[in-house]
Subunit: 600 residues, 2 copies
Amino acid sequence: MQQRIINPQDLAFQLFELHRTEDVLNYDRYADHSLETLQAALDLALKVAAEEFAPHARLVDEEEPTFESGRVTMRPEVKKALDVLRETGLMAAGQSYERGGMQLPAAVAQMCVGMLKGANVGTQGYAGLTIAAANLILAHGSEEQKQRYADHMLAGRFFGTMCLTEPHAGSSLGDLRTRAEPQDDGSYRLKGNKIYISAGDHELSENIIHMVLARLPDAPPGVKGISLFLVPKSLVNEDGSLGERNDVALAGLIHKMGYRGTTSTMLNFGEKDGAVGYLVGEPHKGLAAMFHMMNEARIGVGLGAVMLGYTGYLHALEYARERRQGRPMGEKDPATPQVPLIRHADIRRMLLTQKAYVEGGLALCLEGARLVDEKKFAASDTERAEAAGVLDLLTPLIKSWPSQFCLEANSLAIQVHGGYGYTREYPVEQFYRDNRLNPIHEGTHGIQGLDLLGRKVIMANGEYYNALMGRIRRTIKEAREVAELKDSAERLQVAIEQMAQATDAINKVRASGETERALANASLYLEAFGHTVVGWLWLRQAQVALQGIANSGPQTEEFYRGKLKACDYFARYELPRVASLAGLLAEVDGTALNIADAEF
Amino acid sequence: MQQRIINPQDLAFQLFELHRTEDVLNYDRYADHSLETLQAALDLALKVAAEEFAPHARLVDEEEPTFESGRVTMRPEVKKALDVLRETGLMAAGQSYERGGMQLPAAVAQMCVGMLKGANVGTQGYAGLTIAAANLILAHGSEEQKQRYADHMLAGRFFGTMCLTEPHAGSSLGDLRTRAEPQDDGSYRLKGNKIYISAGDHELSENIIHMVLARLPDAPPGVKGISLFLVPKSLVNEDGSLGERNDVALAGLIHKMGYRGTTSTMLNFGEKDGAVGYLVGEPHKGLAAMFHMMNEARIGVGLGAVMLGYTGYLHALEYARERRQGRPMGEKDPATPQVPLIRHADIRRMLLTQKAYVEGGLALCLEGARLVDEKKFAASDTERAEAAGVLDLLTPLIKSWPSQFCLEANSLAIQVHGGYGYTREYPVEQFYRDNRLNPIHEGTHGIQGLDLLGRKVIMANGEYYNALMGRIRRTIKEAREVAELKDSAERLQVAIEQMAQATDAINKVRASGETERALANASLYLEAFGHTVVGWLWLRQAQVALQGIANSGPQTEEFYRGKLKACDYFARYELPRVASLAGLLAEVDGTALNIADAEF
């Protein structure tokens, strides 16, 4: 199977050597699994990704869904791929057996979807959103809602959406206006307009289950008055058969720069009598319910960004090995043959940068996925609480760091291709366009920065921030004792001290009450913190790679040596970015606040 | 005239206060001009840009040119806009009166085209390439070639192209294979295939004049055996009327991520008997001729990148002032109205970053344009020689810095727009796609890095490098004495010392013969050097703004204060990037060389 979605050796390294996913198998929940069953699921997902999703990735970009006579039409390859996916059962990869799932560890379940993202993010969107919507019902819905809706979603019979944004309320969700009127039968009637509803309409599944944020009549204003509703496109009878069409109308499609295969829709709820909806969870607790699920959704966004960067890197690497252009430096004889691009220093630097970003980003996402399992299933309360706290802290980084740097990897993949990379005859430009969504959706980069610096760093009096720093310092301490790692460890030590100073300086300003200035550069803090954490994960990868070299034969040694080089690269080329940002952050500068509106 | 192409106050500031374009009027060549005539040309170009080019910019992106029955068809708005442009005479803005031109200073002539680029880079392409091709004939052609071809091109009757790339020869031009056979009548017959020929075919003008690089039969291999030929689409009779169709065939169109309005073609020369061509300049000196003109072309690329960034910034600024979203930090009452985006610190930071990049990039390009005039027309040999040398040194920076950072400005403009910015309903995503070409064409980022570090920094024993550093140091020395500028000057001083150390370290390694390692990070050197130079130009803008505040009333004071804030921003937020890069550069690191191919 020729595929350029992931390096399977790297995936196995990350899951089984770096993140020790087999330790997770000690949890009761995963008692039935073995490394073989995990690998089988991953192999299956990769096969579906490569054979069913990747081949039409360009097609759904060039021929995006259209809106005709009130219906969405799209290329038939999309349905075919999703039908195959449905058959595999992978949409319920992470769900419990009782819900018809495979009960796979979070890292493996995430990777199954992640490989689909790398193969064809547009077609994957329909499945990914369905999983997210079903998770929301499973976490907050009644048993009846789980059975009537979620189970059918995870089986792929119904698909799902998340309906948050309204034309005037994007990041500011507290301002949304969709209203839900209670009815005598316990249901609600919704009226309102939603935009950017991905997968909001299509004919890929029997039904579509919309998870809608709306206000009850007695709702307090703002974020404390938002409730979560389940609104099916067609009503669902008790026996699971479909009833009449609900009052949900497709108002139009939104056309995007990338991610074109996933329809982005405007939906009108309740144009006639009101759309029938059912409250999920408690009244006025809808936003909390939504955000409770957001950790996993945000890991999913970060992993999607990684996988787009990863496939771009593999394409660039292959191109650089094959395409001949120019001669070695100093070769004056034009009669000598041209050499492959990979022989040029600048191309190698760009490849190494991509490798460092995408493999580093993958390590970061899988760190998050392991914490998801630890949080739920670790043996002791203490372990679970620390896992939950560290995951909360890492979540904005997991969402944002790959969205920024794996997008940059896509730009470098274009650059390696030269003029060809800018054409639609090669796939790398599409990855770049697709990936540009990731710093925006599920909370923008700026929102993630505020979440990290404004809430996560100081939550529980900084307990989890300190816990994470402690983990990083322990790795540094170990690595310093190893000749091959000493230099990288020292560089990470410098970075972490700089981050600690910046954090202290910001906390002092915050404590003085100047919150706005303290948080003015939260986005830059996010970037610097992200680089520090990924630097740590590179050092850990290098530690594990050294063990690998000691344990293995020459056949895998090249792979492990590549990890050591990439760690070295990250420490030398990337960690200095922390210094330049942390220096600025420590000044707790308010330049952007001080310029008057009229001075722009 | 509502336009979001440029801030006219900034343009006047840069041309007349910062770069003192009126001093250029002292050169004999510009004796007829006054500030009023310059302003009139700029006003005319802006009017044409805003009224004729901007309105169909999205249209030519959505409905790009198509190839049907051997012909290129495109939206009629393109021809209409170019017809209006032709009427204005602006295509010859910079040319001498004897060639029918306006004989305007280089900075003004560049800006006239630049504003078209900001308005609609796709439609502008046809005019921009024509000017470049005509310049090539004027610089190297015979008087007969000038009259028969170039004059008609500058009048807009014929359009032009540059035919360099072949399928196997992009950056490695020495490997091109198109052949030219001499004929008894002094003409040549060309055979070969060219790709990425922008504006290679269309029906916008009476004729198309291709400037083609090819090899003579006796050509030595490599770059020393390339000659330049003029190959008309239709032959041109002595009286200027068109003769028979030449043997140049459109083989197909290439589809790009952006810049879609400008056709990118594959052209076959001499499928039948050979395409009739005429040698321009001397045999085997074609590449030198092409590169002789490259300085101005590369300023044009840099300026195009700036203008795309600039229009994105103005769109983002307007959106941020109008769109209401969220509340001030600490405002807990959801009943209070939402505030404009510009009230949020992170939005302000992103706007300020864009301002610093696009106005700084414009200052850089106009510095280059002023040196173009100085090089040609300054009074003394010494002045002209120094201007030529400093321009040579700056050219890779002028080409690359805006291509990198004004593209980043476009990304930030998307981010300010949030989800809307990712849709094709708003223009900012198109600017981002259009601008992504600029780090690739006219010499990739990597090629510019090698040009800067491998050739320009050390040419004439570093004389021009030292001259530029001397200029920067003089500005720092002056600015240090001014309270408002002292901090920025000190930060620039740090940056320049770091760059000097990095340069010395690299030169030592180079002198030791390790050229490949010395140049391995040339792209990063380019970035660090670019930031240093733009930091200098921001300090100079701040100096001039302080004078402006002293001389002017409160009405313009806001504008000048904005310049001071942006200088402050650049020094605090951007110059630290020099530190992190220069530290790495001073190590003359060879990590990317040391990783084995199989270790990727």
